[in-house]
Symmetry: C2
Subunit: 338 residues, 2 copies
């Protein structure tokens, strides 16, 4: 007997990636329910050779469900989660709605899987740019506590969703044709452009995305005092977030040690041969499960510093894969409800 699962937001960029992962990995589900917003209802999706029809998302969607993967906006997550809990489901939520609540574990299984033990029905997965960063920070932090992280991101449009991927294509084609463009999804043109805004602004001048990289990193790594300063930037890339990191440790760390620690950590691959122009890029790693690290070198501007470059598929480890791994962890630890 497998699990009954529901995927809420099944036709979105993350929902689609989750279906791919379920198919690749053979998740032990006996029943899969796909739910989406009204305009996607009735769509037919193949999974394990069976045709599933997308249903509307409603209160009753969670009846008989063991695990609900929710990948919708924070507002809609807040609305839906109570129905899922009432129905006895465990919620694995991709939005920012619950991440910083004390009773909600915010989990990257390779790092803080044990935080699942205290769950009360809702488990959050971190923001995509945070997940890939902590995957690269944690193995170093365990060996040599990190004091401060400066990070600047190069974020793909799929983090926003399919509409943004479409906007990037349309704008790019218009510009190549010498035509004017218009921006619908983003506040600025993204085709052949970059802009330093992911999500809306807080009163302190940081964006919500930048603040998540601070708060979520501290929570996942149980390091409430770690300094993090991020600038989050959208770039004209479809899939794969890149991040330039400058990290200060408590003690000296040579690049060779960092390479070894990162390479030994599950889910991380070091790709770092500058002589051969070898380092990860979003185009080359999209579709991969691992977080890739390259350009590891001493940060010459401070003591005990390293600079490096990481790239991860924001839809996989940044979202769907991490959610899938949490579900697997719950099953293997026999932690489902009911």
């Amino acid at each position: 007997m497998g699990q009954n699962i529901a995927i809420i937001g099944a036709t979105g960029a993350v929902g689609q990636e989750l279906l791919k992962i379920l198919e690749e990995r053979g998740f032990p589900a006996s029943n899969v329910k796909l739910c989406a917003s009204p305009r996607s209802v009735g769509k037919r999706i193949n999974l394990w050779g069976e045709e599933l029809i997308v249903e509307p998302t409603q209160k009753e969607s969670f009846q008989g469900v063991d695990i609900a993967f929710i990948s919708v906006s924070a507002d809609i997550s807040r609305e839906l989660a109570p129905y899922a809990l009432d129905a006895g489901a465990i919620v694995i939520d991709d939005s920012s709605a619950f991440r910083m609540e004390n009773h909600v574990p915010l989990v990257v299984p390779e790092i803080n899987g044990d935080d699942l033990l205290s769950h009360q029905g809702v488990i959050s997965i971190p923001n995509c740019s945070t997940t890939q960063m902590v995957m690269a920070l944690y193995p170093l932090h365990v060996a040599n506590p990190i004091l401060r992280v400066v990070v600047d991101t190069y974020q793909a449009v799929s983090g926003t969703g399919l509409s943004a991927m479409n906007e990037l294509s349309l704008q790019s084609q218009s510009i190549l044709n010498g035509e004017n463009t218009s921006a619908e999804v983003y506040p600025h043109q993204i085709g052949f452009n970059v802009f330093p805004q992911v999500e809306t602004f807080l009163p302190n001048g940081y964006t919500k995305e930048e603040w998540k990289m601070l708060e979520e990193t501290r929570k996942i790594m149980h390091s409430p005092d770690m300094g993090v300063s991020a600038t989050c930037v959208r770039v004209p890339v479809y899939v794969g977030h890149s991040e330039a990191l400058h990290v200060e440790f408590s003690h000296p760390m040579v690049p060779e040690e960092a390479r070894r620690l990162l390479d030994e950590f599950p889910g991380v691959t070091v790709l770092d041969e500058p002589g051969g122009n070898s380092y990860p890029t979003p185009w080359s790693i999209s579709g991969s499960d691992d977080i890739f690290v390259g350009r590891i070198r001493k940060d010459v501007s401070c003591n005990n510093g390293l600079a490096f470059w990481i790239v991860g598929d924001n839809l996989r480890k940044g979202a769907a894969l991490n959610a899938y791994q949490i579900a697997s962890e719950l099953i293997s630890r026999d932690m489902l409800r009911g």
Copy 2:
């Protein structure tokens, strides 16, 4: 009587921009000679309503020339500069060939115009990513000495030249058509991709471009101990370099003070209203002379820190405009040779 000037590399991206600037600003030239590599010889270019024919670059190109603007590779600059000096010309060189030599002023006129006083015939302009950074750092540094700068760049392909701009277009169109692409100019695909390599690698793991941002910044700002750690990244943008900066000062500096200091500095424009999604982007500022600064906020990860975002046209202030300004400065200070 105006000056006799020569533009070496007249058909390149920077040479073309310099011609635009000469035309816009009415440089006092009595004669303009355009030189380029063999494949561009014979091209006709209009300047001030006159048709100029591109000549081959050779030893004799500098006879009778007062100011030679050289915008070619470092190797070719090294070859040509001695001929120019022998002919009595002043060289304003855009390459990295001479920048770090002790007797060569490396000049951004708004910052260290007085360094021109010691010139011995060759004056270098800084690397494009350095120039825009020091324009934003200097007015702050004068008020509150900077200890450390962390900078990650988002660099346009026009920094490489017209061939790279063409490659970006071709690759982007192929990808939009669902076709395969090939990379000729760069080691990796740039269409819908980013990669952390500008120029070749040094043994210490930094690229030459990153190292220039350290060494040139120290030289221009007369601050041999300033810490600078850069990661330089190429992005699929035609014109306009962007940089995310995290700066540590000797004393506290509030964002309001930084805004005021930057706004008062010639050649810098503050564009910083996050509430209205207002900050510079390369698409919106390309073609402008100024360096634009936005996203100014306290760096929450360190004492006395500010984070901000700058964008400049890499062909204008990053190259041709800065060279033009140096020539103007030499004329107004009556510092030409002969």
